[in-house]
Structures are given as structure tokens and as C-alpha cells.
């Protein structure tokens, strides 16, 4: 996963529901030094009985925000969506160099 162009990742999930899986796995996909490279990572846990489904927000350097509802998407789709935009930014960065 390309994490170079992310400025903020916000995950919110209830670990006792099955829809927490994509959000939790997304956090494990971030490399160990992602916080030092200028990406802010916020996680918040919902209480066990809350009906709210898990969500993930990703902000990019160009200002684009992506908001995912994790009950409708799996980790593969999540990575694909995020990478699709990251690749565009990568392309633009390569051309401007």
C-alpha cells in the first residue's frame, strides 16, 4: 500500500463487531514509521453495544478525503480504493520532478 501521500488516517471501530475487521487490518498495513513521516493516525474505539458501524477516513496531501463504511467493504477493496488515488498522486509527482 502506498502511504506516502496520506496526511491523516482516522479509524473508528467496535472490536466486538465483525465489521471492525477491515479497519483493524488497515491499521496493520501502515508501515512502522508512518507517524514519523508526517501521517497522523487516530484510532477510537466504540463501546461494545453501540450499533454504529466501523468507519475509516483517509486524507491525502492534495486535500482529497475518503470516507469508508467498513461494513460494506473488505480490506482488499479498501486498499485498492486508497491506492488508486495514491497512484494518481504518484504519477503527478513523478511528472513534476
Amino acid at each position: 500500500m502506498i502511504t506516502k501521500f496520506m496526511t491523516e488516517v482516522t479509524a473508528k471501530f467496535n472490536p466486538f463487531s465483525t465489521c471492525a475487521k477491515p479497519a483493524r487490518l488497515f491499521l496493520t498495513f501502515l508501515p512502522p514509521d508512518v507517524r514519523m513521516n508526517g501521517t497522523a493516525v487516530h484510532t477510537s474505539l466504540l463501546p461494545r453495544n453501540s450499533p454504529e458501524s466501523s468507519s475509516l477516513k483517509v486524507k491525502f496531501k492534495d486535500g482529497k478525503e475518503m470516507d469508508f463504511n467498513c461494513s460494506k467493504i473488505n480490506i482488499k477493496g479498501l486498499v485498492e480504493e486508497v491506492d488508486r488515488h495514491s497512484r494518481q498522486l504518484q504519477k503527478a509527482a513523478d511528472l513534476s520532478e
Binding site: S17, K21, R24, L27, T28, P32, R35, L45
Partner: protein, 340 residues
């Protein structure tokens, strides 16, 4: 050349192996040192129609359904014994901590736990210092999942009395890696109320367990103040008191550790539940004191209610008596007050 030789030797080898089994069978029949009656007292309790015992199974190496020399199988054994013996495990998600960060996290945890007073398990017993036994351990999620199922749904006693369980001359094979265990867990119905069904969604991604070998709220509180500080309730140590806590390496590691739940005495708790357990004042002794206070209160309540009945009766009778006396006085004085 060797291939030709081995091909030529094959029939002979086959022949040899056949003879060997014959010989072994004969030995087993004729030269046994113990006769069938005295050999195995365990065999007599075998239910009707049970499978015949498997021979040549040493006690230290009972037959196993899973390959015994793989890491996974031994992990299942470790985890089942851990889950059976440890009353308190807190689960953390660890997202890509580096080795240096792990070291820093463990160092701070040890520092915090060393400050906790040793707990007394029972009144009068010698205080037990738990802190060197508390571990923060990375767990293999899928193997832990299997172990959780085994611990909850596998009953070795049921398997031992079943007729389909394999047996050796020493007794039925009912250990955690046995075929009986595998079958029982595979066929188990997982009801939504069971602890496994509740904890199962947690078993995702990389997991670490904080293993505390006794239910000691003081240790939980100390560990939480380091690993998952909550301002007000489990405050992180101040910069003056513990500068190592504000080390960037540790803070970086801490950001990647996340408390997601706990398993306390077989029950599953979420973050709020774990905080509640950590917040029990004075640990088990505190709970005992609370219980004593409640029971004393109940005793007082009972005596006052029991007394209350008779007292109110007495009061009513006394009131009626006074009323009657007053009426009789009033009548003797004259009828003016009653008629008005």
C-alpha cells in the same frame, strides 16, 4: 545403478516386512510379561463396543490427530494450557511495532508493575509478588482461536466415556491434539451466548496478550496506566516522575498498541469492562469489604423490618388505647366536643 539394485531388492524387502509383523505379533502373544487380566485396569472400564486399544503407544507419545512436531500443534497446546490456567488476559492489537519499541514497552510495563504491592491471595497467606510473572506476549491469532474453541467446547471426560474414542492400553486418548478433541470441536454448536462467540470477532489481525496469572485489579490498573492510559482514571506517569515514559521510541510504540478487550475468569470484557476491573479499589480485599458491608446492611435491614412490624402494631394499639381513653374522658366530661 542404485535404482536397479533397489528395484531388485524390493520384493525381498516387502517379504521381510511381512515377516517382521508376524514375528512381532507372535511376541506380543506369547512373551508378554503380564497377562491380560493384570495388564491394564483402565481397560475394564471401557464401554461396550469401544474401539480396540492401539498397541505400541508409549505413555509419553500418545497418538495425535495433528502432526506433533509442528510449531502450530505445540502452540495449540501452549495456548490451551494458558487459557485454562490464566484468569486474566488483556488483548492488545499491535500494528507493526519494531523490536526496539517492544523492548521499550516491556521496560515501561515492568517499571510500572514493580511499583505495585504484592497481593495476598487469601487472608493469612504469604503475599505473592506477581510482577515478574506478568508478561506481554505476542499471540498467534489463528492458533489462539483454535485454542479458545478447544477450551470451551471440548470436554475430555465426555470423550473418555464415548465409544468412538481411540484407546491405548493406558486409557483413552483424550488430549488436546487427539482425534476426539478435533471431532468434538468440529461438531460443536456455537451459541451466541457462549464466551467464544463473544470473543471471536476480536481474533483478527496481530494480537498481543497481557497475561496476569491472578485477578489483581492493582496490577491491571498499573498496566493500564502505562499501556492504555485514561486521563483521570488511569493517568500516565508524569514527566518528572518517569522521564522514560516520554521517550519518543516508547511513545511511538504506545501509539501502535491498542487495548481491544479482555478475558477475565472466562468472561469477555470490552474496554469499559477492563477499566471497571482495574478500578476496583483495594483489589479482592476491597471487594470482600464491600460484600461484608452489604451483608451487614442487609442484616440491619432485616432486624429493623422485623422489629418494624411489631413496633407499628404496638404503636397502633397504643394510639387506639389513647384514643379510647380520650373518648371515655370526653364522654365523662360532657358530649360537647364529640358533637361539634
Amino acid at each position: 545403478m542404485t535404482r536397479i539394485l533397489s528395484r531388485a531388492a524390493q520384493p525381498c524387502l516387502r517379504r521381510l516386512s511381512v515377516e517382521a509383523t508376524h514375528v512381532r505379533g507372535a511376541f506380543a502373544h506369547n512373551f508378554s510379561t503380564s497377562d491380560a487380566q493384570h495388564a491394564s485396569p483402565g481397560l475394564r472400564a471401557v464401554p461396550e463396543g469401544a474401539q480396540p486399544p492401539i498397541d505400541f503407544a508409549p505413555v509419553t507419545k500418545p497418538p495425535s490427530a495433528r502432526p506433533i512436531d509442528t510449531r502450530k500443534s505445540q502452540m495449540i497446546r501452549t495456548y490451551t494450557s494458558l487459557l485454562r490456567t490464566t484468569p486474566l488476559i488483556l488483548f492488545f492489537q499491535h500494528s507493526n511495532l519494531t523490536a526496539v519499541e517492544w523492548a521499550a514497552v516491556r521496560r515501561e510495563l515492568k517499571k510500572a508493575l514493580d511499583g505495585v504491592a504484592p497481593m495476598t491471595a487469601a487472608p493469612g497467606a504469604e503475599p505473592l509478588d506477581l510482577s515478574p510473572r506478568v508478561q506481554l506476549q505476542v499471540l498467534r491469532t489463528n492458533m489462539l482461536n483454535v485454542a479458545l474453541k478447544l477450551v470451551e467446547f471440548y470436554n475430555p471426560e465426555v470423550a473418555a466415556s464415548s465409544t468412538s474414542t481411540k484407546r491405548t492400553s493406558k486409557g483413552p486418548i483424550v488430549h488436546d491434539l487427539s482425534e476426539a478433541a478435533y471431532e468434538q470441536v468440529k461438531n460443536a454448536e456455537i451459541s451466541p451466548e457462549s464466551a467464544y462467540a463473544q470473543i471471536e470477532p476480536l481474533m483478527v489481525g496481530p494480537l498481543a496478550g497481557l497475561i496476569i496469572p491472578a485477578v489483581s485489579p492493582a496490577h491491571v490498573a498499573a498496566a493500564l496506566s502505562v499501556l492504555a492510559p485514561v486521563p483521570g482514571k488511569f493517568p500516565a506517569p508524569t514527566r518528572k516522575k518517569n522521564p522514560g515514559y516520554y521517550d519518543p521510541i516508547f511513545q511511538n510504540g504506545l501509539a501502535k498498541l491498542m487495548l481491544i478487550g479482555g478475558r477475565i475468569e472466562g468472561k469477555v470484557f470490552d474496554q469499559a469492562g477492563v477499566h471497571w476491573v482495574g478500578g476496583i479499589e483495594g483489589g479482592i480485599d476491597g471487594l470482600r469489604a464491600q460484600l461484608v458491608a452489604i451483608l451487614q446492611g442487609a442484616g440491619l435491614g432485616i432486624t429493623s423490618t422485623l422489629e418494624g412490624g411489631s413496633r407499628s402494631l404496638w404503636l397502633a394499639l397504643e394510639g387506639r388505647k389513647e384514643q379510647l381513653e380520650g373518648e371515655s374522658k370526653g364522654e365523662s366530661k360532657g358530649e360537647a366536643p364529640t358533637s361539634s
